[in-house]
């Protein structure tokens, strides 16, 4: 008899719920939010999510101090010319006024009218200072060149809203690099999963018949699976190396590739290098999953089919394959999803190269986020991947009928 869950027993679930909420659900929702903003960590005006504009007091104070400092410096330089000196003192007074007005602004969100006021005053002061230097040319000024740059920095104290809505998603359609990455990912996934499935099924059938050596095969099969992908990718990049790699050398000797350099230095070579490494690492794993499925098939079925005179091929297609279908679907589904989000292997083996020929969606998303520090568009790519994953899973579960919910 299964009982109803009471409050005390609900406590058993609490740690799981908290961990899932904080480290899985919250990040997904946050990534989703990022995708609606032009969010770039290395750009001071876009490094925060904001619907209305924001004001950076720090940015303002640092640069407005320089305006005053530079002006008073050059006022000293203009000391000989009474008119010029007076004009500089006036500008300096304006600058003091300007600083006083806006040092009252709080850091953070500001209203549209405040934003406008700030932009206009900054522009007015900038023009005044520019005019000043034009009216009284003097070689001794030290800061004529730097002041315009300071004003540029001052303008950055105001960040306009970086909410962009769906325009990040619209960018997808014009992004050839994204479609190339999608193409590479699909190519990698289809070919490596297909090879892994066929080899894995063959291996599982052999292991199912094998009487001796099963422990040895099982251990041998588990080792590539248990090695960190990053380590095995690095190991293989040595074996594929153009001048010193033994596998590239063997392939070239066998005539599979034109010369040993093609393996990592050409696009197709590098893609196949990644596929072969993946096949090496996960075929045994696939075989073990399929073997477990084979072992639960009733042996009596084979005996009765033998009595009925079915040959091996008939037995395989009429009994083994249909009964193995649930295991096959689940194994292929999880392998497909794994291959689709491949990151470590590509990042370490080829880094997406040569010339982007092996760049998958994960690698592109990671580069966008952590090389260009563009979290906004990076999140759009990640969301795009998420949708692809959902489509793949739905296809397997609804269309092909994979049964992934085993318990209950």
């Amino acid at each position: 008899m299964i009982k109803k869950l009471t409050f005390r027993q609900f406590l058993f679930l609490v740690p799981l719920l908290i961990i899932i909420a904080v480290f899985s659900i919250w990040p997904i929702l946050t990534s989703f939010t990022y995708s609606f903003f032009d969010y770039q960590l290395n750009n001071i005006q876009k490094s925060q999510l904001s619907f209305s504009g924001t004001f950076s007091k720090k940015q303002f104070e640092e640069n407005s101090e320089y305006v005053k400092l530079f002006l008073s410096d050059d006022a000293n330089a203009a000391a000989g010319n009474a008119k010029a000196e007076q004009a500089f003192q006036e500008a300096l007074a304006d600058a003091e006024n300007y600083c006083e007005t806006f040092s009252g602004f709080p850091s953070g969100k500001i209203s549209a009218s405040q934003s406008k006021e700030f932009t206009n005053s900054t522009e007015a002061l900038r023009l005044k200072v520019k005019q000043l230097y034009l009216n009284f040319p003097n070689e001794k000024y030290a800061n004529q060149e730097s002041l315009p740059m300071i004003f540029e920095e001052l303008n950055k104290a105001i960040s306009p809203s970086n909410f962009t809505g769906l325009s990040g998603y619209r960018m997808i359609f014009g992004d050839q690099r994204l479609f190339d990455a999608l193409g590479h990912t699909v190519y990698f996934t289809l070919i490596s999963v297909a090879i892994e499935f066929l080899l894995g099924l063959g291996l599982a059938l052999i292991m199912n018949k094998a009487v001796r050596g099963i422990g040895l095969i099982r251990a041998g099969a588990l080792i590539p699976w248990a090695i960190p992908t990053a380590v095995s990718a690095l190991m293989w990049s040595y074996l594929y190396d153009g001048s010193n790699g033994i596998i590239a050398h063997i392939f070239a000797e066998l005539g599979l590739i034109s010369s040993s350099e093609t393996m990592l230095l050409t696009g197709p070579g590098a893609m196949w290098a990644a596929i072969l490494t993946d096949v090496w690492k996960t075929t045994p794993y696939m075989a073990l999953l399929l073997l477990a499925g084979l072992q639960v098939i009733d042996k009596g079925l084979y005996e009765s089919s033998a009595i009925d005179g079915a040959n091996r091929i008939q037995t395989f297609f009429k009994i083994t394959l249909p009964l193995l279908k649930p295991s096959i679907l689940v194994a292929v589904l999880f392998r497909t999803l794994d291959a689709f989000r491949v990151y470590d292997l590509i990042a370490v083996l080829t880094g997406g190269g040569p010339g982007g020929a092996t760049e998958t969606l994960s690698v592109y998303a990671y580069k966008t986020m952590f090389s260009q520090m563009n979290f906004g568009y990076g999140s759009v790519i990640v969301m795009f991947m998420f949708v692809c994953v959902l489509i793949i899973a739905t296809l397997f579960i609804k269309v092909l009928g994979a049964n992934v919910m085993t318990s209950d």
């Binding site: 009982k3 027993q9 990040p27 946050t30 990534s31 041998g220 380590v231 999803l337 999140s379």
Partner: protein, 264 residues
């Protein structure tokens, strides 16, 4: 025969790495690169990775991080799986579906927000990294544990309940010992998953003293040259513990991997 071919294909890369690790660099590069046995075997590659390449500290980090992850994941998933397999509640199927979705989504989706969170809390380059590891380990662990609890007959617990024991005591004294093989399987699979993690560590623990093995080894490849001798030696060093674990616990690992994947 097929067995032999299979083992040769699987093990050849390791074998080649092993012999490379004993070669001096003039035999790794150039004409001697394809020789089976070294003319002048050397231990230099090993001594250089143990002196100053931080392989030892990365092994320590990997061990600590994987152990902590395994411990808390076991506790959390055992408690949850017990409640899931023994009691009825309305959002049970939703919860199981959610766990399934988490195991399916691209890991890349959590990296950005987690990076910002860790930067904000100053948790980068620390062992706090074990917390987001939950995303890759918890779904699998809950899944295996639910499958194992499903095999333990309810009658034993019911007689304990008649004797008046409370649910936590029943879990601790009666169910947990019976589920021990399942717990052990979950622990190994979780440990290996944590040991192999690359994406989060490469992003969050970038400082050399806090790197884990996969990241530290991938850093041996410098911008200008790849020290294949040292890479090989480091690979051998970090692979040996994995091979030992696999040889000792292969049956448990396989049963963990296939539970959930095979309907019985």
């Amino acid at each position: 025969m097929v067995t032999a071919v299979f083992l040769v294909v699987i093990l050849f890369p390791f074998f080649w790495i092993l012999i490379t690790s004993f070669k001096p660099s003039n035999e790794i590069f150039g004409s001697g690169a394809f020789q089976l046995l070294s003319q002048a075997p050397t231990l230099n590659n090993y001594s250089s990775i143990f002196n100053g390449k931080n392989i030892l500290s990365s092994i320590k980090n990997s061990l600590m991080i994987s152990l902590i992850t395994t411990l808390y994941v076991i506790v959390v998933s055992t408690l949850a799986a017990y409640a899931i397999s023994r009691f009825h509640f309305r959002f049970k199927n939703f919860l199981l579906g959610l766990i399934l979705v988490i195991s399916m989504f691209p890991q890349m989706i959590i990296v950005g927000p987690i990076f910002n969170l860790f930067t904000l809390l100053h948790w980068t380059n620390s062992y706090f990294i074990v917390l987001p590891y939950s995303t890759i380990t918890i779904p699998m662990a809950v899944w295996i544990m639910v499958a194992h609890f499903g095999h333990i007959p309810l009658s034993i617990e019911e007689s304990a309940k008649i004797d008046g024991a409370d649910p936590f005591l029943i879990l601790w004294k009666i169910v947990f010992p019976l589920a021990a093989p399942g717990v052990f399987t979950t622990a190994i699979v979780t440990f290996i998953a944590a040991w192999n993690e690359y994406l989060l560590t490469a992003t969050l623990n970038t400082e050399i003293p806090m790197q884990t093995v996969p990241v530290a080894i991938s850093f041996l490849r410098t911008q200008f040259s790849i020290l294949w001798g040292e890479v090989s030696a480091a690979t051998v060093v970090v692979t040996i513990p994995t091979i030992i674990i696999v040889l000792l616990f292969q049956k448990r690992i396989v049963s963990g991997l296939v539970s959930g994947a095979v309907k019985e």
